[in-house]
């Protein structure tokens, strides 16, 4: 690759990542998908390397996906879950990271409830860090797998329109997609009730906001429903889940206004019949299970890129 920008050491968000490098990650994920189709789903690329899954916040799915991705690349995996560890005894993030680093791990995969925590792990460990979700900030491998799923369908992201509908305010998935997809030539429309749709996000390049889901899906090639955390009701953001579902649910009626070949995405886990109807989740437009497959391939590709890939 001949990109002029320096090779990023981490995947914390997409700030340091050029479109060329991001495209290389997506291209490489196609190769990884082929590996996953073989009877023996394992390559020796990361043999001898140790990946630490540092999950300061619980997440079975993302952790499992990263764990499998690393194992399929022949890496050793050290899983650190904060709930049952020194963190619950009051150890600081810095001390935890320094101890894990002293175990001679080669990379960190970090999930944390606070935005910026992955940046801190990068600073304290000196090792490559993949952000597996930090607060509301970023979930870059999720956005990459979303991009990959759209690209698989339409061949390219150039000129494509992706509508993201739901609780934008609290969503790292929405922020990462809003950061990534415009870099790859797509247009992003963020949509949700005003209390969950911060107007300041309109400052991001290639991103528009609307409170009207029908307007959001008009011309959209992909429609993504976000999980609505039921706790939001306690925060006073919404009048009722019923009103939310009636207005913002991704269902066949809403999808009728999208592009004819539009696909349906959801980062999971789903609240069926709340933010997404059962028909939309299971119907012919749905690529939700494809997203899960692509997620593993994307994570293999990112690990490869950060740990052994050379320009």
């Amino acid at each position: 690759m001949t990109s002029a920008s320096p090779r990023p050491r981490h995947l914390l968000d997409f700030q340091d990542w050029s479109a060329e490098r991001l495209t290389a990650i997506l291209d490489n994920a196609d190769t990884m998908l082929q590996v996953l189709d073989r009877p023996v789903k394992k390559v020796p690329a990361l043999q001898g390397l140790t990946v630490c899954n540092a999950f300061f916040e619980n997440s079975t799915r993302t952790r499992t996906s990263f764990e499998l991705a690393a194992r399929r690349m022949s890496a050793d995996v050290l899983t650190f879950a904060a709930g049952s560890s020194s963190v619950s005894k009051g150890e600081s993030l810095r001390d935890t990271v320094e101890v894990l680093t002293a175990y001679k791990v080669d990379a960190f995969v970090v999930r944390h409830h606070a935005a910026g925590a992955a940046h801190l792990v990068a600073r304290y460990s000196g090792k490559p860090v993949i952000n597996a979700g930090d607060g509301r900030r970023a979930h870059p491998t999720q956005a990459l797998l979303d991009a990959h799923t759209v690209r698989q369908e339409f061949g390219s992201l150039e000129g494509k329109k992706v509508a993201v509908i739901g609780d934008i305010r609290h969503s790292r998935v929405a922020r990462s997609n809003a950061e990534l997809l415009p870099k790859l030539g797509a247009e992003v429309v963020l949509c949700g009730p005003a209390t969950l749709l911060p107007a300041d996000l309109a400052a991001l390049p290639g991103v528009t906001l609307t409170g009207d889901p029908r307007q959001a899906v008009r011309g959209a090639h992909a429609v993504m429903a976000l999980r609505l955390q039921k706790e939001r009701m306690g925060g006073g953001f919404l009048g009722s889940l019923q009103e939310y579902a009636d207005t913002y649910q991704v269902n066949e009626g809403l999808l009728a206004g999208a592009e004819s070949g539009a696909i349906v995405l959801h980062p999971g886990p789903m609240n069926r019949d709340l933010e997404i109807s059962g028909e939309a989740a299971d119907g012919p437009r749905s690529r939700i299970l494809r997203q899960v497959e692509n997620g593993q391939a994307i994570r293999m590709s990112v690990l490869y890129h950060l740990l052994v890939g050379r320009d």
Binding site: R94, A114, A115, L120, D134, D200, L201, A203
Partner: protein, 431 residues
């Protein structure tokens, strides 16, 4: 004990002079050698002499949080920053809401030989915002100001009672005791950890809107106006004003003739929310770093007199605390040692030396109703000699505060104190 400082200049003067201090006060200028021979003489190295600086807002963390700071480290840091007087905040453990604590702190500080200490006491018991503390006893013990500070007086009625009561505790000039407020509506601030705006949204960090400050300032000004209409001498001082809109409200209140004053912190003038992009909790402070537009408005406020004084809100925490993630880390920046050099380097030209010194000496004195600091014979022997020429690097490792880290580490600043004298005694001397 006689102390003579030679080879110094008054602000904006090229004349080299000497000043002699005796028994804690200024004895006179350019005295004949026969009158100064027996005491100590210090060469002022051609520096500029000014009254020692006054800090109205510092967290010295004693009692109870001495892992962050204590009187010795905090007051030594203040002296090194050119300060001769420090008002410390009462959010300690326990809270400074008891006259005995006030007396103990003053007594302890007096023995240290650094800056003078004037404790602020809690307005309400335990700073809980529910029941007034013993304001009269606290004043008698030496408390100079009442505040619940970061506990933001959510109960407006209790704040009103506090202003009313404090306003009836008059000094010899008939001025009521100052009640200072951290003006922020806690429900609007909610879980915000930085300024709400495009940067907070891009970073995915909960935002604290400018309206939280403006709404609270508006509420408190209306309470004050109501009390004034009833003849109260209540005085409201608004701490660390950070937004253009709140400043506008204070400007209007001053036109109305309300007894209101406000302070602005150098960090709100020199940093913006952009600093949070690296997710370093060193930049987490309350109220938060705002936008350049706000910083520009605050600077205008300094120029046109809306802002009465500069305060640093020196708020030390341990390194481990500030290394936590941004949601978890405590708020505060500690930099009393470099406040003057920072202000002089950045704004010395814009404001002029006289105005800058006024905002850090006479300005805070006016807020408090204290005599205007002066360098004439008979005035208290509190002065600072400043080196306005030599650029020096900010080296946190050399700080006297326990918080040996700062946003300005490595920057070249000028205006460093060469010598700080408090009550006629050397409190700091540059090595």
């Amino acid at each position: 004990m006689t102390l003579t400082i030679t080879n110094i200049k008054r602000p904006n003067s090229d004349t080299t002079e000497s000043v002699t201090l005796e028994n804690g006060v200024i004895k006179g200028w350019n005295l004949p050698a026969a009158l100064t021979a027996e005491g100590e003489t210090i060469d002022g190295q051609g520096g500029t002499v000014a009254p020692a600086l006054i800090e109205l807002h510092a967290h010295l963390r004693e009692p109870g949080q001495t892992e962050k700071e204590d009187l010795a480290s905090g007051l030594a840091a203040a002296a090194a920053g050119g300060y001769g007087t420090v008002v410390c905040m009462p959010n300690t453990v326990p809270v400074i809401d008891d006259p005995a604590i006030v007396r103990t702190l003053i007594q302890k500080a007096n023995g240290l030989g650094f800056a003078r200490l004037h404790p602020a006491a809690a307005l309400t018991k335990g700073q809980n915002g529910e029941a007034l503390a013993e304001l009269g006893y606290l004043k008698d013990a030496g408390a100079v100001m009442f505040t619940d500070d970061g506990r933001t007086n959510e109960n407006a009625r209790v704040l009103r009672l506090g202003l009313e009561y404090a306003g009836s505790l008059l000094d010899s000039a008939g001025k009521g005791m100052v009640v200072s407020v951290h003006a922020e509506d806690a429900s609007l601030r909610a879980d915000g950890v930085m300024n709400e705006g495009p940067v907070s949204e891009a970073l995915g960090l909960p935002g604290n809107p400018a309206a939280a400050e403006a709404a609270r300032v508006a509420r408190d000004l209306e309470i004050l106006a109501g009390l004034h209409a009833q003849g109260s001498k209540a005085h409201l001082h608004i701490q660390h004003l950070s937004t253009a809109r709140a400043l506008e409200l204070v400007r209007g209140a001053k036109v109305r003739g309300l007894s209101v004053t406000c302070e602005v912190c150098p960090h709100h003038l020199t940093l913006t929310d952009e600093a949070l992009r690296g997710f370093d909790a060193m930049y987490k402070v309350a109220p938060p770093l705002r936008t350049q537009r706000d910083a520009d408005a605050l600077l205008e406020g300094l120029k046109d007199g809306t802002v009465d004084c500069i305060a640093t809100d020196h708020a030390p925490h341990t390194r481990a605390e500030k290394e936590r993630d941004l949601l978890d880390a405590p708020s505060g920046i500690a930099y009393i040692e470099l406040a003057f050099p920072l202000m002089y380097t950045r704004f010395g030209q814009t404001l002029g030396l006289d105005k800058l010194l006024d905002l850090m000496t006479a300005g805070p004195a006016r807020v408090m109703g204290w005599p205007t600091p002066a360098l004439e014979a008979g005035a208290p022997g509190d002065l600072v000699v400043l080196d306005l020429e030599t650029e020096r690097e900010v080296k946190p490792a050399e700080f006297r505060t326990k918080a040996k880290f700062t946003p300005w580490a490595g920057e070249m600043l000028k205006g460093w104190p060469l010598l700080t004298v408090v009550a006629g005694q050397v409190a700091y001397r540059q090595e």
